[in-house]
């Protein structure tokens, strides 16, 4: 177990360093210059603009050679400083992200977990009822194949514009301030439901199809057949099949997370939801190096933590994994 953890942690640290390096590099390879964008917003005299430009370039440390910027970045990062946003100048990146994070997590976690549970239940159900299967499977394939952007827009258009059941922008109405009251919570939920639903639906199909196929595979496997020759109740055979079928689904969850976060960017743009994805698109449009970096660092950390959790859960559930990492498995 210790060996397993050591290997895993090492791999995760290396992945983190590598991913963050790429994350640092890519914005800087974009054509254009963020300071120009910032200065142009102050649109004063050309003379003062030039002074301001050279001042800000120095202030953000962008006049230094790249390798030095890279080291400065790591030094600052280890001190917990992600820099100052250029686009939202002079707000620190960390503050911007901190206020956006709850909105992102509030959509992501429930939608990922709910669709995982619902998808697996539907798949397991479809696997043992032939007739239900022939109805459910095409629907699930359709959902799985539907482009996410299209699905989001259809939802927003139908429920927001045509039926007017739900608002289509923001996390709460403009007239409100975040505080704890029924009015605010109700309002928040009303804004929350569409982005949640869109992410929930888009993931549902994949889970259901995967689970259905896995359960059918497990029910056809030799250990299920042996149980049949022992005349045990169907409930026991199913219980074993489900438990074993769920294992690859858990791995799938880890793999899916990256994709889901990309989807989350789309959700937040479609529904103008003020999460990290929305901030990220704004940052990219304004060439805000530090904000882009910060957003991606949060995403990287999120994906790695989720993967690590899944790794631990997997070890707890599957003795074969424990065995392959040598030694104790009980």
């Amino acid at each position: 177990m210790k060996k397993y953890l050591r290997t895993k942690i090492l791999v995760y640290v290396l992945t983190f360093i590598f991913a963050v390096t790429i994350d640092w590099l890519i914005p800087r390879l974009m054509p254009g210059n963020p300071i120009l964008v910032l200065v142009s917003r102050f649109s004063g005299l050309p003379e003062s603009a030039r002074v301001m430009y050279s001042y800000l370039t120095k202030a953000f440390g962008l006049d230094q050679p790249l390798w030095k910027q890279y080291f400065n970045f790591w030094i600052a990062f280890l001190k917990g400083d992600l820099g100052i946003s250029i686009y939202l100048y002079p707000k620190p990146v960390l503050d911007v992200l901190k206020s956006a994070l709850p909105y992102s997590l509030g959509i992501l976690l429930p939608s990922i977990l709910a669709s995982w549970f619902a998808g697996n239940s539907i798949g397991a159900l479809a696997a043992r009822r032939r007739r239900l299967d022939s109805i459910l499977l095409p629907i699930m394939y359709f959902i799985n194949g539907a482009p996410y952007l299209w699905l989001g827009i259809i939802l927003a258009y139908y429920f927001g514009v045509v039926l007017r059941w739900f608002p289509i922008a923001g996390a709460y109405s403009f007239g409100l301030r975040p505080h704890l009251s029924w009015l605010f919570v109700g309002n928040f939920l009303k804004h929350w439901i569409l982005p949640f639903l869109s992410l929930f639906i888009v993931q549902l199909g994949g889970w259901a199809i995967g689970m259905r196929n896995m359960v059918i595979y497990e029910l056809e496997s030799n250990y299920s057949r042996f149980l049949e020759t022992l005349g045990v109740k169907n409930s026991l055979i199913r219980k074993y099949a489900f438990r074993n079928a769920i294992l690859p689904q858990i791995t799938g969850l880890a793999l899916q997370l990256g994709t889901v976060i990309a989807g989350q960017v789309t959700t937040e743009v479609v529904f103008s939801y003020p999460g990290i994805g929305y901030i990220l698109t704004q940052a990219i449009l304004n060439q805000d190096y530090f904000l882009i970096q910060g957003c991606f660092i949060f995403i990287i950390i999120g994906v790695l933590i989720a993967n690590f959790t899944v790794d631990l859960v997997y070890v707890a559930l599957d003795p074969r994994i424990r065995y392959s990492y040598g030694g104790e498995i009980s």
Binding site: L227, E228, Y240, N244
Partner: protein, 318 residues
């Protein structure tokens, strides 16, 4: 005592029925180990599996099976459930991966018994005794299947299958996946189950006649879904009468013969396909004694007591 009469088990395919077991009649007496031999696809495994777990694509077409004087409802999946494990058990061909990989073996056995309405504690002692019988340490119960070697897993399956002292045990190709050194030990263990009265009778399915020579009381040879010849082990080995059995035995290597000088003979040709089997004797295409009469179904010829062959060319010892 198992009595099988006119049993027909066909596989349903898109092109029609494959007659894997076609009109088979035989019996296994109490205290007897019946060896069932034949080449691949002759229906021996279908027969063995059909007696325990008959489900699609395998179809029950006709016949009757009686175990200890009681009709065995093999064609009824649900009613048969009560008889499995308690009355009829199988050590399957896939014994190496017959256990649930994510359950500790002890817990697994407990859950199986519970599902059959049997208290684990009431059989715990038997279980431990049986483990000793097959040379497995008691701690395997606290292990996962992955921690056991292939041979250990197979012995574990043997213990589970026979735990409730079934009347009939079917051993399906148990030696196929083992190397020669462990084959003998496993065969003797299975025979021992019968000797100790744990099971009353055994059907031992194999394609290796030399194994049967060591352990079987009687041998039944199948060819293309039908019985070719049945007899006591000595009768079959020393005095085979059906042309197929004869050729099968001459294609075995003999001790003391150098096969660089004389090639092993083998049987030329292929077994017929069972979708639309030829009329009459199914071996006629490959049989050197073939004659016009062979186009009609071969008769049952009783050569002497216990020794029976289905062939036109076999004469009884009068």
């Amino acid at each position: 005592m198992l009595e099988v009469r006119n049993l027909k088990l066909y596989y349903r395919t898109l092109r029609g029925y494959v007659r894997a077991v076609d009109d088979v009649t035989f019996q296994v007496r109490d205290g007897e180990l019946l060896g069932l031999a034949g080449e691949s696809g002759c229906g021996k495994s279908t027969l063995g599996n059909g007696l325990v777990l008959l489900k699609p694509p395998m179809n029950f077409v006709g016949g009757e099976v009686q175990l200890d004087g009681e009709k065995l409802p093999i064609e009824d999946y649900e009613r048969m459930r009560d008889y499995r494990f308690k009355k009829v058990s199988i050590i399957p061909q896939y014994a190496m991966d017959a256990l649930n990989p994510t359950r500790k073996i002890g817990r697994y056995i407990e859950e199986i018994l519970e599902s059959r309405g049997i208290n684990f504690e009431s059989v715990r002692e038997t279980l431990i005794e049986r483990l000793r019988l097959v040379n497995l340490p008691e701690r395997v119960l606290r292990m996962y299947p992955i921690e056991l070697s292939g041979g250990m897993k197979q012995r574990m399956v043997m213990v589970i299958s026979t735990l409730l002292n079934p009347s009939l045990l079917i051993a399906d190709e148990v030696t196929s996946a083992l190397d020669v050194s462990t084959q003998k030990a496993v065969c003797l263990m299975i025979r021992n189950f019968k000797e100790l009265g744990i099971v009353k009778s055994i059907i031992f399915i194999t394609h290796d006649i030399s194994v049967l020579y060591q352990i079987a009381d009687r041998i039944m040879i199948m060819y293309a879904g039908k019985i070719a010849e049945v007899g006591k082990t000595a009768q079959i080995i020393q005095n085979p009468l059906h042309p197929y059995t004869k050729m099968l035995l001459t294609s075995l290597p003999e001790v003391g013969v150098r096969y660089t000088e004389r090639m092993l003979s083998g049987i030329p040709g292929q077994p017929p396909q069972l979708l639309e089997p030829p009329k009459g004797c199914r071996f006629k295409e490959r049989c050197p004694l073939r004659d016009k009469v062979c186009d009609k179904d071969p008769p049952l010829v009783e050569i002497e007591e216990d020794h029976v062959a289905y062939c036109w060319k076999v004469k009884p010892n009068a």
